[in-house]
Structure formats: structure tokens, C-alpha cells
Amino acid sequence: MQLKGVVIDNTFAEAFPMWVSRLILTADTSRLALQAAEAASGLAFSIIGCGCEAGIEGDVPASETPDGRPGVAALFFSYAPEKLEEHLLLRIGQAILPSATSACFNGLAAERMAKVGGKLRFFANGFQSSKLIGDQRYWRIPVADGEFVVSESFGIGQGVGGGNLIILGTERGKVLTAAEAAGNALRKVRGAIAPFPGGVCRSPSKPGSKYKEVRASTNDVYAPTLRTRVPTELKPEEQSAYEIVIDGTTEQIVRTAMKEGIRAACLPGVTRITAGNYGGKWGPYHLYLHRLLKDGKA
């Protein structure tokens, strides 16, 4: 199959279940809210090394935030609910709480709840106070610019991680432009994130390594400098490849984001778009590229 002259491989992305939380961060200005969200979702690119994948889902207008201030929604993914709770506690406590004028609210209604604000309150050293408003409890933690208001608990629901696209082409600059365009396009899909910087990953990995203590290693089949040493996946004219990793709150959202990413990435200099999988043995979600483009279903 070809789209705007770009070959779309007849293959699939292999995705797997992950646990997800959604945070609504607010502040006096949208700039401050975004700053807090970027700090909280920093160094959360790959589940392998970071233990958590995170990204900014989008702006939330003041009319839709609990405290009526400008907000930003951020999604956090991990492989176990306990691990996700650990990251929420760390990231809200160390990145959002210190951010000027910030407040942090639960943005996901789920059966499973992680007590985060209920633990962070101890930072107030006995001066914390709570408010039960409606059926939600909020903690008020005194800080130097007023109070940090945080939801007592955050919902942890089932999401999907590991959706991916690999964009290949003849020149690094052109492939990067296409990859960034894909990253920008898929981030417009509500409920999806591309956790890597700018949405783009230059170091696709494969599980395992020749070194026992290393859990993942470079996916050598896409490294142009190794094309003479390994059975390469690169065509002779392909000099560069970038991966886009996609996590979403549902399988359908990941599918939609992948489709938008492919469409945006079909630019001059791109020869082919493919996807990474492990033969279908690892993840239960097999997202076929051709089917995505034909009818939106994998």
C-alpha cells in the first residue's frame, strides 16, 4: 500500500495493557500550568528505563477545571498500579507541588483509586486541612504562595501502551520533519500521548541484550551504521529512521492516533512507514497499519 507515494508496510504494531492516570493541573496562568505539567511528565519516556511513560494530553479551559483556572491535562502510564501510584506520589510531590500557584486534581473516574493527596498532606507537618466538596476530598497544604490544593485520590484505569510507528527515509532532516509532524498530529487526539521528547524516539529498542544485566538494547535492524553487520530492515536508499511511541487510554484512541500520525508523516523524503512488533507473542493488541488506514480498525 502507498499513501502520497510513501510505502506503508503490511505489518502491525504490537501494543499491551498498561495502567493509566489522568491529572488536571491548574495554575494562575496557562503558562504556569503547562510548566508544572512539563515538569511532572519529564523523564518519563520509556517504561523500560523510567518506570513510567507520561505526556501532556492537552489544554483544559478554565470553565472545565475544578477551581476555574486555566489547566493542562497530563497522562501517566505504568505497568503496575502500585508502580503508577509510586510515580504519581513522586511526580506530584516533587514537580507539581513546588510549581508556582499550582493545584492538581484527579481527571479519571475509575474503580481503582490511588491515595496520593492523602499521603502528600503530611508535607504540611500537621498544618494540612481537608475539604470534602461533593463526593471529592481535597487536601489544602500550606505553602509559601498560599495553599497547594490536591485531590485526595487519583483514578487508575486500564490503558494501552506501546502503539508505534517507524518512519524511514532518505535524509535524516526530512525524516525528522515527518516524524515531528506525526508527533504533533497524534497529540491532537484526546486520550493519547507520545511520551518521547517532541514525540520522536531516535533509539528504538528490542528486549534483551548480549549483556545479562541489560534489559533492552538498540534495535540494530534499524541502525544505518550496522547495515553491513546485521540482517538489516533498511532498504538500500534508507538512511534514517525515527520511532513514534503512542500510549492511549483505550485501544481505539491508540488506533486513531496511529492513523493520524501516518497521514501526517507522508511527506517528501519519507520512503516507508512500518511498525515494531515481536511476532505477536508479547502484547494482545495487534494494530495493523493497512487496516487502520482502510477502515480505522486493527
Binding site: D67, K131, V149
Partner: protein, 254 residues
């Protein structure tokens, strides 16, 4: 279903309507409703003797008190959910013992609105009470959780011995608000003065107030005029108790 109890005028004495639980009344037949008993002093009378009962099957669940409601005490007693409307004035002890639900009084409320039944018990433990007019003394005394919004003035001892929760007064609170306040918030447009156990603590932090206002708007009620444009002054206390409570005042004290 909407059940409307229209109380007749000319009923002498105060009627204790604490037996009129909305969750039970909404499921009763017309006959059962009429036979429901009430206390008047040490005598019991049937509901049919003092009011006309009307049921509207096609409407949302709501219990409505209308007619001569001024002498009714303990309206909404131990309310556990749903919506209760008083199309007139409510007597004393409105919402005592409630833990959830919404009470809306279109007129005034008497003393002990949302308060505790006796000094050893807790005040309301949840839910919201809205009074469009004035309320009497001891509003929210001993309150544990929930929200009370009185659009006009309140009497003396607002939030006395309050444990937590939020009381909002769109007008002026009477003398000695927050006497023995342990935790919780009293928010008012005006106050005559505060007890010596309260100290000024700068301006209030707005974030939780906005959450609170959003919740009030979500049930179709209005925020008192001018509150959204100003930041109230904050006083903490009662420092003779735990000192973890606060009184927020919008206008300078007289």
C-alpha cells in the same frame, strides 16, 4: 416522583416533622402518606389532618413542603439523599442529623439550622442546605461535614463548636461567630466583630473556594453577589480550641 405536602394555615403549635423522611415518603401510596403520624407537643396527629398531599409521578424525585411551613421543626431530619424543597419559611432545626442530599428553603430558616441535636452530638455530617432568606441563631453548630449557604443574614453563634464543613453567609453573621470552632470554614460578607480567639491571617487562598463555588453552581444555586470579584480576609481560630478553623470575611469589619 415529586411529593408535595401543602400545610394548612391555622395549625396551632409547632409540628415536629422529623418522621417525614423523603426516601420513605417518595415510595408510599397516597393512603399511607395520609396516615403518616407527626408529633405536636406530646400528641400525635396524622399528616392528613394538617396538610394536603399531592403526588406527581412524572416528575423527578423531590419532596416539597409548601403552605404554612413556618411552624414546622426538624424538616429534613436525618436526610440521607435526594432533594427537599421548602416553598416558604422553615422552622427550627432544619436538616438536623442529615448526612447527604440537598435542602433548599425559598424563605427564611429558624434557629439551629444544620446544627447538632444536643451539645453531645454532631451537627450535619454531609449534604447541602441552601436558604434564600435569613437564618436564626446557631447555624451549623457542631457541624461535621457538608455545606450551608444562607443568602442573607445569620443570627448569633454561627458555627459554634463546629468540627468541619463550610458555612457561607451572603449577608452578615450575628455576634460571636465560630465560638469554639475546631476546624472548618465560615465565609461571610460582613461581620460585626470576632471573638478574641481569632487572629488575622492575611488573604484567603482562592483555589478551594472556587471548587466550593463550582459545587454550589452545579446544584443550580447562586454565589452571593460580589464574591467572585473579591478575595476575602482570613482569620484563623478559635485558638482557645484547636485553632484549625477559619473565618473568611469579604467586607471590612464594622
Amino acid at each position: 416522583m415529586r411529593v408535595e405536602l401543602k400545610f394548612r394555615s391555622g395549625v396551632q403549635g409547632r409540628l415536629d416533622v422529623s418522621s417525614l423522611h423523603s426516601n420513605l415518603l417518595l415510595r408510599m401510596t397516597g393512603k399511607e402518606l395520609e396516615l403518616q403520624t407527626l408529633w405536636m407537643g406530646h400528641k400525635t396527629i396524622s399528616l392528613a389532618e394538617v396538610c394536603a398531599v399531592r403526588k406527581h409521578v412524572d416528575k423527578q424525585d423531590e419532596l416539597v413542603f409548601s403552605g404554612e411551613t413556618q411552624g414546622l421543626i426538624k424538616i429534613g431530619y436525618a436526610l440521607t439523599g435526594g432533594r427537599l424543597t421548602i416553598e416558604g419559611n422553615a422552622g427550627d432545626e432544619l436538616g438536623v442529623g442529615m448526612s447527604a442530599g440537598v435542602i433548599h428553603v425559598h424563605g427564611n430558616a429558624g434557629d439551629w439550622c444544620g446544627a447538632n441535636e444536643n451539645p453531645n452530638s454532631l451537627g450535619i455530617q454531609g449534604g447541602m442546605i441552601f436558604v434564600d432568606g435569613n437564618a436564626g441563631d446557631q447555624v451549623g453548630a457542631g457541624m461535621r461535614r457538608g455545606l450551608i449557604l444562607v443568602s442573607k443574614n445569620m443570627g448569633k453563634y454561627v458555627g459554634a463548636r463546629m468540627n468541619a464543613g463550610t458555612i457561607l453567609c451572603g449577608g452578615k453573621v450575628g455576634d460571636h461567630p465560630g465560638l469554639g470552632l475546631k476546624r472548618g470554614s465560615i465565609i461571610t460578607s460582613k461581620a460585626n466583630g470576632l471573638l478574641p480567639g481569632f487572629f488575622p491571617a492575611g488573604k484567603a487562598d482562592e483555589e478551594w473556594l472556587r471548587i466550593c463555588f463550582n459545587e454550589i453552581c452545579s446544584v443550580g444555586m447562586r454565589i452571593p453577589t460580589g464574591w467572585l470579584e473579591k478575595i476575602p480576609n482570613r482569620f484563623t481560630g478559635d485558638h482557645l480550641e484547636m485553632g484549625k478553623g477559619e473565618i473568611l470575611i469579604y467586607d471590612p469589619m464594622e
